[in-house]
């Protein structure tokens, strides 16, 4: 069993296997289930992700009315062809937003690694799919690769906003996505680790400050930027750029930053954007002024 990214990369490199394959083998060993059963469960998760993206791209609105419809706006904007950044990046952003808009509307999603950060991994997957034309097996491998990196973060740091802030949720998701993009694009296990490290470094310190305690503002847009961050970091790693700080040490610093973060900024809706005048006003409008006054 791999305990950290260094061991994971070492196992994959010495055996000349992709990281996704190491994750599948470990799952077989830990659970005693067959390869076919494990792949079938991941296929089910992939289908849930596809349906969520599709639903979001058709336009949803949350119960509170705070979020919804932005995925549609972006797709319309891409179609006009006047965008400045890049089509795949904007497609990834739009699909990440689509997933989180569905999540905010209490629709069905697959947590990757959490529900609040569920957009990043599928958003990037379904965007790079159009460029790399992967097989269904390669799309499933994408999820096992990202799962392997998420597994290390979850066990050595945290994937909970209440415990580690948004860096632990969207930060982890973005790092996982970057690593998986690298594998799908033909990069090495080591490059996957660098992509994860570069992404997570740029998410360090991100707080969890949901307005009205809803997984909407700023969560949906944080997934958007998580997806963009993952795409750029993957390209940087594929270009041969390395993280000076090893991936495991970045993960460890994320954990320590999460420990040092005040509770007001860890999913309590007492600080950050939740505590702005507009954040408080929205909260009062949604739950009534009594709830906001009690904070």
């Amino acid at each position: 069993m791999f305990r950290n990214v260094a061991e994971l990369v070492e196992m994959a490199t010495t055996r000349n296997l992709p990281i996704s394959e190491i994750m599948i083998e470990q799952e077989m060993n830990v659970t005693g289930r067959t390869r076919a059963e494990i792949l079938a469960q991941m296929e089910t998760n992939l289908q849930v992700m596809e349906q969520a993206v599709e639903r979001g791209l058709n336009g949803v609105v949350s119960h509170s009315g705070l979020t919804g419809g932005d995925a549609v706006l972006l797709q319309e904007y891409i179609k006009k062809g006047q965008f400045l950044s890049g089509e795949i990046i904007l497609d990834a952003v739009s699909k990440a937003v689509a997933t989180n808009e569905v999540n905010a509307a209490m629709g069905m999603i697959c947590a990757t690694p959490t529900a609040g950060s569920a957009g990043v991994v599928p958003g990037t997957l379904f965007a790079v799919k159009n460029k790399l034309n992967p097989t269904r097996e390669q799309m499933i491998a994408f999820l096992f690769n990202s799962g392997a990196f998420g597994f290390v973060v979850a066990n050595n740091a945290s994937i909970s906003g209440a415990a580690g802030g948004c860096q632990a949720e969207v930060g982890s998701a973005a790092g996982m996505a970057a690593a998986a993009i690298v594998e799908m694009a033909g990069g090495t296990p080591e490059q996957s680790a660098h992509a994860m490290a570069i992404t997570l470094k740029n998410m360090l310190g991100l707080v969890c400050d949901p307005v009205a305690g809803l997984v909407e503002v700023p969560c949906v847009k944080r997934n958007a930027m998580g997806a963009a961050n993952a795409m750029i970091a993957a390209d940087m790693a594929l270009a041969g750029i390395k993280s000076r700080i090893p991936c495991d040490e970045v993960i460890d610093s994320m954990y320590r930053i999460g420990q040092a973060m005040p509770t007001a900024l860890k999913e309590t809706a007492r600080g950050g954007l939740a505590a702005t005048p507009t954040g408080r006003r929205l909260e009062a409008e949604i739950f009534g002024s009594e709830a906001a006054a009690n904070k």
Binding site: M1, R3, M23, Q26, E27, V30, T31, I38, Q41, M42, T44, N45, V48, V102, N103, A104, A105, M106, G107, M108, I109, C110, A111, T112, P113, T114, A115, G116, A118, V121, L143, F144, S146, G147, A148, G150, F151, A154, N155, S158, I159, S160, G161, A162, A163, A168, M176, P210, A212, G213, L214, V215, T263, K266, E267, T268, A269, R270, F287, A291
Partner: protein, 220 residues
């Protein structure tokens, strides 16, 4: 290692919006239902930490009641669980606690009916993964992801061996086990995680052993 499966990370499939505050809460509720073995008549939910601050926004209240109604994390009925509970005649009360818990996402469920009651404390540690940390005042650590047998027994020598013997006879492998007691020589609780669901007849056999007071189970 707290997380053992890739599906703890890529998963669960669930109704939004929060894996810890919605899916995790639903799982805590469902373990409570599972252990109580029937639908309760009344439920008191106490929220601590981040659960107390943001339960409304995350739908933690509907999720935990959904779990108590035996709904899975992806069951669309979760959204209407408070209405469904009312239709079933279940009295539901939520309490917002100020006390600072050990873990930021903590819920205490106190439920019962005319035949009995039960109190359980659960924490939601991220990504939908949970741990049950207390049952009727006994400290324990239970993931709820594996089948498990919970045995209330008299805190005396030999009780554990008797239970282990029965499990060995039926070739049931123990994955994790712990024993907890409130006071020496009084009641104690064995928490035994196993690899497969346990048949009713085996539970009955365990219950008839000397020193064993009560046996409940969590099925996968």
């Amino acid at each position: 290692m707290k997380y053992k499966s890739v599906f703890d990370i890529i998963g669960p499939v669930m109704i939004g919006p929060s894996s810890s505050h919605t899916a995790g809460a639903a799982r805590i509720g469902r373990v409570a239902r599972n252990l109580f073995e029937r639908e309760p008549k009344w439920v008191n939910i106490h929220f601590y930490g981040s659960f107390a601050e943001t339960y409304k926004g995350h739908g933690t209240d509907v999720a935990i009641i959904g779990g108590i109604l035996d709904f899975d994390t992806f069951d669309e009925r979760i959204k209407a669980s408070l209405e469904i509970a009312e239709q079933h005649g279940i009295q539901v009360k939520f309490h917002i606690e100020e006390a600072i818990p050990e873990h930021p996402n903590t819920a205490k469920i106190h439920l019962g009916d005319e035949k009995g009651e039960m109190e359980l404390v659960g924490i939601s540690i991220g990504g939908g993964k949970i741990e049950i940390t207390e049952l009727n005042g006994f400290k324990l650590k239970l993931s709820g992801h594996h089948p498990a047998i919970l045995v209330v027994h008299n805190d005396r020598f030999g009780a554990i061996a008797k239970v282990a013997n029965v499990l060995a006879k039926y070739e049931i492998n123990i994955g994790h086990m712990e024993v907890s007691r409130k006071e020496k020589g009084k009641l104690a609780l064995m928490t035994i995680e196993v690899d497969q669901n346990i048949e009713e007849a085996i539970l009955k056999e365990l219950e008839q052993l000397d020193s064993i007071e009560k046996v409940t189970t969590i099925v996968e």
